[in-house]
Subunit: 166 residues, 2 copies
């Protein structure tokens, strides 16, 4: 039985530096294991997604990339597709946006809690949700290849902000 990971919405306590360094390290390793090249461009796009630390659109990444020099949409989409392919980022379909993956070492699809107020998000791989989906699929004879679970609402911090009284 997989262990539950606790949610981690970004906030002011977050140690950005070490977080990104850690992600980079993992990414490096994943690419090596897979025999894939973690080129300067891919590394940079991965870094930009992580630096943003919220779901980021492809064209936002593009704008950031363009601060380094010329770049066009396919450049970004190709890098993102590569990162998606090997599980270093996830795509949030309901936002047309991308997020860094917190545990690229093991394959998973996960679930996402996304705060509509501060735009922070948290990635889970909740066994209960996974099991409920798997059970439902089995029950109905459906063979699952991939699932998308995106939960929109308010993170704990923003709930407090929205009702400061009472």
């Amino acid at each position: 039985m997989a262990k539950k990971k606790s949610l981690h919405f970004i906030n002011e306590d977050h140690d950005h530096e070490s977080c990104i360094a850690e992600a980079m390290g993992k990414a490096e390793k994943v690419c090596q294991q897979r025999g894939q090249r973690f080129t300067a461009l891919r590394r940079r796009v991965f870094e930009l997604v992580w630096l943003h630390h919220r779901p980021i659109g492809a064209y936002e990444v593009l704008e950031l990339l363009q601060q380094d020099g010329r770049a066009a949409p396919p450049t970004v989409y190709r890098a993102l597709d590569f990162l998606l392919e090997i599980g270093l980022v996830h795509r949030i379909a309901s936002l047309n946006a991308y997020v860094g993956c917190v545990q690229p070492h093991h394959p998973h699809e996960g679930q996402f809690f996304i705060c509509e107020s501060c735009k922070s998000y948290a990635e889970l791989d909740d066994p209960d949700i996974n099991n409920a989906i798997a059970a439902s699929a089995i029950e109905h004879g459906f063979s699952v290849r991939q699932h998308t679970v995106e939960i929109m609402g308010l993170c704990p911090r923003c709930q407090k902000k929205e009702e400061p009284s009472s």
Copy 2:
């Protein structure tokens, strides 16, 4: 405890006529209850979505609409937005497409099983999945407004087709 609905992928046994008639009837009622106008345009768009009986893109709806006469994108998007608003259709975020809602009378968000081979789909409102998501949210102090659950894979029928031997 909500009752489980059994999955209903479309197939050759499907009675299209009565299915659409029923959907129309429900839609009519829902609009009436809500004091909303089920105009000819909205009715037609709703019908086109149901006739297709698979997830259908806005521009596909547009093309169909144009067989009746001139129409432009905002016309379709406005009708779809209206139908979404009152729960007569759902949007499948991972496909940028729309489907008719099977139970518009009670509010729900549901889950979708989508066959990547034949493009049929089935809508559920599985209490176990709902509960797992709700429990996870509570556990982490997240306040849910809306959730998206889209499960891609193969329907029972298409699984059989893909491995005719053994």
